[in-house]
Subunit: 214 residues, 3 copies
């Protein structure tokens, strides 16, 4: 049961992130292999970094190539279908939010399963949730969504924390997985919908932007 | 014989990529240690990621430092010689094509040798072939060549696929290595020479670029 | 004694780099979790890459979460205090120089301890010293300091080399650690203070910038 829940969440997250990579490729008017490269890197990027840092090598998509094939198929399909949604950037943002919320709990769970401390598991959830999107945005030449005005890291952190606290408290894993996912997704979707943001750092002096030499 | 062929291809690929890194440093008018940093990262980057993902750690240039020394020597030499070619950017593109074609087959072979599925080996060939150049271009502040208009990922994918199909079919490894290399190099050189490109994604609506909020 | 020296240098280096990440976040007017993300990635980035390449996995902050907690606390604190220094960019440059000098010797030492060749240990010192800052600058959308006009890679290389030469010569490790740190820091601070730079590559022909097609 737990394994089924985890596997489903994992697959949906990878599919959602692969779709955001392909949508970025469509914004950049790439060819079909550009779609596949960007979709695949985004889909498997977070989990790849997670496995590497934890030392569970070779990484997950080497031992189970189905993930790789799924990313390729989704990206290639979107080359032909990406014109259908009215606003591809809005779709990208929402699929990204879905993937982020899923990866935040999956990443934290994989870390706990490998025996890390709770605070490390939370960090691993945030890393898994954000890394694929960061690589996608840098390769696409855009400013990373993760550093955008709307709440993003906060949502991943909240979701991973809820999962870890629930798990450490002895609640069933499924409860933590679903609870953490719902929290992360709700915060991020609400932030997108109502443009929520946290107070941002403001320089107290006026000349702070001028302190770099030309 | 096989080991000799593999080793020669590997060395030529690393030298070619190190040269592209140094040429990028010359475009950015760096000092000699900037040349060495960028040349070395580009030369060993792809193989480093490949070894990390496969879990064959420590990575190849730690166990065999000659690769590291070669990258340093090539980069430092180019600091003094990079003014000789008429067009350094054209030279960079051609050396990059050579390195890409070599790494596509070498990366796929290392993956097969470590026991991965064929589809993973193809992906590992593409990753090895493209990663060093991506890091070089990002550090140099340029748009990655791999996402450029001319066919690039396609060539790496074709070369790695030819090698893997040949190997899985039971043909001698040397045939696959040479065949895959020739296919990848021929496609990329032809794409550069005659400006071949695949059909690119085109938005069907006119307003797709406007769907991101300012 | 050696372990104490190493541990102190390591902690100061991580704290200095975490501070530079948070200062970058303040330049980009991020929220508090943006500070934490950027500060943590910068603080633990270099050591994370070092451990990965050497294959000492899981990486250091997974086995000892105190490093992670320290980065989070420093970054969050700077969200409230970053307005105090007169020039945050100058502070960022000096903290970065401190961290660079410390990581150059620590990185080289960790490599020697794991049994690498001297030349690999020097390279590992340079990688550890520069990687966190490179990721910080790329995420912040700025041109990497490591490739800046003032001497940077040179300082890291000199410090790591001094440490490795001292160690291989049989001098006590503490002497090498302090000696290498002093050399790296002195070169970098002097380069910042007096704007030292090495001769940069200059194209001999006038048209070199024009050799890329539009």
């Amino acid at each position: 049961m737990l394994e089924t829940v985890t596997a489903i969440l994992d697959w949906v997250g990878i599919a959602a992130f692969a779709a955001t990579g392909a949508l970025m490729a469509s914004r950049k008017q790439m060819d079909i292999f550009g779609f596949i490269l960007l979709g695949t890197v985004t889909g498997i990027g977070g989990g790849t970094l997670r496995d590497t840092l934890l030392g569970t090598l070779p990484v997950f998509w080497i031992t189970d190539p189905a993930y790789l094939v799924a990313c390729v198929v989704i990206s290639a399909t979107l080359f032909f279908l990406a014109h259908i949604p009215q606003s591809r950037y809005t779709l990208l943002l929402w699929a990204d939010a879905l993937g982020m919320a899923l990866f935040a709990v999956i990443g934290a769970e994989k870390a706990l399963l490998s025996g890390t401390a709770p605070v490390v598991a939370i960090a691993m959830g945030v890393i898994t949730a954000t890394f694929g999107g960061i690589v996608r945005d840098i390769l696409g030449g855009e400013s990373p969504i993760v550093l955008s005005r709307e709440i993003y890291v906060t949502a991943a952190l909240a979701g991973a924390s809820v999962f870890v606290v629930f798990s450490v408290s002895g609640l069933p894993r499924e409860v933590g997985l679903v609870g953490g996912f719902v929290v992360a997704a709700a915060i991020r979707f609400a932030a997108l919908r109502w443009k929520w943001s946290l107070p941002r750092y403001r320089a107290r002096s006026e000349d702070w932007r001028g302190d770099r030499e030309p």
